[in-house]
Amino acid sequence: MSAHEAAIDTHEVGSTKLFAQVWFWLLLLTGIEVFLAYLRLHPSLMLTILVGLSLIKAALIVSYFMHLRFEHLGLFLLLIPATVFCICMMLIMFFPDSLRLIDLRPH
C-alpha cells in the first residue's frame, strides 16, 4: 500500500482482541438467556428480561461490530434517536392490551 492510500485509510478502529472480547460477551449473554428459559417465569417478566438482554447485545453489535461508537456523533444522532422513537410508538398499544389479556386467562 502506498503512503497516499495509507493516509486515506485511517479509519481502522478496534483491535482483534477488542472484537474477540465483544464476541465473548455476546456469547455469555446468549448463555444467560438460554439458562433463563429453564426457569418458569411469568411470560411478561420473561419477555421483559429477554428483550432487556437483547437490547444490550444489540448495543454491543452496533457500537463495536458496526463501528458506530467510532463514528462522528452526528451520524449517531441522525440514526438512533429517530429509530428508537418510532419503535416506542409501536409499543403504545402494546403494554395495556397484551398484559390485560394475559391476566384475564383462566388459571
Binding site: 500500500m1 492510500e5 485509510d9 479509519h11 481502522e12 478496534g14 482483534t16 472484537f19 474477540a20 464476541w23 455476546l26 456469547l27 446468549t30 438467556e33 438460554v34 433463563l36 428459559a37 429453564y38 418458569r40 411470560p43 411478561s44 420473561m46 419477555l47 429477554l50 428483550v51 438482554l53 437483547s54 447485545k57 444489540a58 453489535i61 452496533v62 463495536y64 461490530f65 458496526m66 463501528h67 463514528e71 462522528h72 452526528g74 451520524l75 441522525l78 440514526l79 429517530a82 429509530t83 418510532c86 419503535i87 409501536m90 409499543l91 402494546f94 392490551d97 397484551s98 398484559l99 389479556l101 394475559i102 386467562r105 383462566p106
Partner: protein, 212 residues
Amino acid sequence: MSHTETEGILTTPWSGGASPFAVNSKKLGMWLFLVSDSLTFSAVLVAYAYVRLSNPDWPRPFEIWPAIAKSTLMTLILLSSSLTMVLGVAAAHRGDRKKTVRYLMWTMIFGAAFVVIHATEWYTLITQEHVTPWSNPWGAPLFGGTFFGLTGLHMLHVTIGVAYLAVIAWGFGNGRFKSEDVEVSGLYWHFVDLVWMFIFPLVYLMSVNLKG
C-alpha cells in the same frame, strides 16, 4: 462577502464543504436502509410479541433437545460469522486482500450453515409436526404464521447476505472494489446478526417446552 469568508463557510460541515456525518455516501445509504429495515423487523416482532402474550394457549413446541440446542448453535454460528466479518473489514482497511477474502469466505460458510440448519428445522416442522401458517397440532393457529413469517424474513436476509458477500469477496479479491465496499457489506451482515438476537429469545426461548 469577502473571499476568505466564503471559503470559511464552504469548509464547515453543514455548508457543503465537508460531509456532515464524516462517512461516504455508500455507508450513509446502507445505514439509512438498515434503519428502515429495523422498523420492518420491529413491526413484525412487536406484532408477534403481542399475540404471543395475549394468547393463553400459545404453543410451546421447542424442547431443549433438539430445538433449543439447534437454535443456540445457530446463534453461536451467526455471532461467529459477525466476528469473522469484522476481522475481514479490519483486514480490508489494512489493504490485505488475501486475508479479507479468506475472512469473507468464513463468514459465508457460517451464513450458509445457518441457513441449512434452519431449513432442516423448517422441514421437520412442516413434514413431521404438520405446522402450516394457519394451523398446528398444539394450540393458537397464529403460531405457524408468526414463526414462518419472522424466521422466513430473517432467513431471506441471511441468504441475500451470503450472495452479497460473495460478490464483494470476488470484487475485492480482484481489485475492483475498495475497502469501504467491504465495510458497507459488513454493516448489512452485522444487522442480520442483530435481528437474530431478538428473534432467537422471543420466538424460541419464549416457547420452550420444559416437559420434554
